[in-house]
Structures are given as C-alpha cells and as structure tokens.
Amino acid sequence: MARAKLIGLIVSLAAGAVGAQPGAQPGDQAQSRTVLGTNDLLAQGAEEIRAGQYDEGIRHTSLGLAQATSINERAAALSNLCAAYAAKGNPDQAIDYCTQSLALRDNNWRAYSNRSYAYYLKGQYSKAHEDLDVAASINPEGRTIERIRGMINEKSLRPSVTMEDHR
C-alpha cells in the first residue's frame, strides 16, 4: 500500500481529459475539473489511478479513450495509461502509451515525466534523463520531475570519496 502511494506521487496524472493541455501546470487542476464532464470515464480512471487502483483505472481510462473526441482527451488518456502501467511496474507498455500520447501532443510534460519514470524502471537512465530534461524545459517548477531525477541519480551514479593526508 505504501509502495502504491509512493508510486502515485511519482507518476504524473493528467486530471481527466484536459490536464494534458500544452504547458499544463499542477495548479491547473482546479480549472481542469470544471470540464471533466466531457469524459467522465477518463476522470474516474484518473482518480482511480491516483488512488492506486491501477487495474480499475486502466479499465475506465481505456473505455474513456475509446469515447474520446478531441486530441487533448486522447493524449491525456494515453498519458494516464502510461502512468498507470509505469506505476504497476510494466515499463514497456507504459513507454508505448507515453510515446503514443506524445505523438498527439508533444509538449505534455506529464507524458515525458511518466515515460522517464518508465525508462528508469528499465534501467535506461540516459533516456530517462533525456525525457526529464524535456519535461523540465516545459515545466521547470515540476517537483515530480526533480524527484524522478533524484531517483535516477541515486541508481546511476557511483559515489566515491578520495582522501589524502597532509602530514
């Protein structure tokens, strides 16, 4: 349960269908909620993924994706599926969904951040860094981005301390 919460903090979810609009910030969620009704399934799926109920979240998001009418909705849904699969520890499917999302909207920092986390899970730290750099260039304030970068550094950098006596 604790792990689910931790992962929930790491993956970035678009709030329903419109959170993935270009340059969306975390603070934009309130604005997003006013139009969630355009695709309730996507909104419900996002909430479930956020709550750690990944299978339910994936099911509802997939249904919502089938009904999505706009590019924004489709991009957000795909990014959320990416987040859910990454959180489940299935990075290959996550990367596939994030890549599809970015093909629709290439300036969604959440999708880059989620794909970075998926690359991190695969141990592909260079690619993870590349995606994080793009995410950070879109949203420099993203705390999730820095958290993932810290995790990558922890795994990919070998610390050493050299000492020399002067006596």
């Binding site: 690359y119 695969k122 141990g123 592909q124 730290y125 260079s126 690619k127 970068r149 810290g150 995790m151 550094n153 922890e154 795994k155 990919s156 950098l157 070998r158 610390p159 050493s160 301390v161 050299t162 000492m163 020399e164 006596d165 002067h166 006596r167």
Partner: protein, 238 residues
Amino acid sequence: MRAPALFAALLLGACFATQVHARKNRAVPTLDPVGTWTCVVYGHPAFGDELVLLDVARDGTVRAAHDRDGEISPWVGLTSWYVDDATMTFTDPHSGRAYEADLTFETLGGRWRTPTLLGGWWCSRGGDDFAPKAEKAKLESAMPPLLPSFTATPIYPIKAIRDAKQGRAMSCFFVDADGNVVQPEIVELSDEIFRAPILNALARSRYQPLPHAQALRPGCRSFLFRLEPLAGDASVLE
C-alpha cells in the same frame, strides 16, 4: 537653503549608520598569533608536505625555519605580518607564497597562494625553546610522523547523490598522544552538505599513538567527493 543642509545631515547619518553596521559585522580575531609554531605546509606539487617552524613576534616580524633533507635551516625572515578583519597575512619572499590565516580559528592556519598555486598550512603551538639550532630529533619530537591506523571514509550524503553534487574539502586538526583526532576544523568546503560526514569520519579515524609527542601534532586531510556514471545503464548496452 534648509533643504541642502537637511540632505547633507541625512547623508552623514546614513554614512555613519553604514560604518557602524560594517563594524558590527566584522569578524573578531580570537587567536593571538604571536609565538612559535610547528606547522605543516601542504599543497605544493613539487615540495609535497613541508614541516616548518614559524616564529611570529609581537613587533610584526615573522621568521621561518624549514626541515629539508633532515637539516633544519637557519631562521629566514619573512615580510611583516598584519591583521585585517581577523585575517593575518604575511609573505615568504623566497618562495613567493602569500600566507593567510583566519584568526577566528582555534589555531594558526589557513591558505597560501602564489600566482599559479594554492595550498594550505596548519600549526600547533610550539614551546618557547624551539629554534633552528635544535637538532633534527628536536623537530621530530615536535613533529613525529603521523601514521594512520584507521581511516574512516565519510558517507556520501544521499541527498548529494540525488542532487548530483560533487565537492571537495580540506580539514585540519590535531592528533593527541593516543592518536585521536581532536579539534578538527573545516578550512575549505565546496558545499555544506559534506561537512557533517567529514567531521563524523574524522571523529572515527585514528592515528598511531604518539607517546613522545610534546604537543598536539597538526595534520590535515583533503577529501574529494565524486560521482561517476555507472556502466550498467541498459540504454548504453542496447
């Protein structure tokens, strides 16, 4: 007519307040540098670590005597020393080194620099009878060799790894007769994040006992914190 006078008065007042503020913020020297010191001077790529006797006189003169190849040189006069804002400075005209000591430290020591080199020095107070005429044994008893018996490695702070921070530090300290590291001071530090691990490691480190040491023996240790990419990045292997 009154306005310029008022303005001048305000300006004077502001200047006075600035001076008082600056005076308040000045570092206050807590160490009297006058006396004879046994020092280790480090950081010169050709000379390595040098053992030096330093005689700082009340009249502003400084003399140095070096232990070179087992021979202790006669006293050599250096430039006069002076103190500004708790920083003592003097120069060795022979080597061209400009010495600086922070007199807020517990002992004499600090940095030296030439136009191309930078190093450090650290001293412990010697007795009144120290002089170059003393035989080598005298200096050796004052500066017995420091041999580590246990060198603790600082823990690389996990936050520094996450933030990809590298750094360097120099710590100087004394070694007591039992080989314990005492009074460690960080004389150079690239990032505060490394201070605690260094001090923890020094507290756990030991040197071989110095049973015949007449005074605390000065020593310094430099630390280099580095991060290297692991070769196991799968994206490289693809």
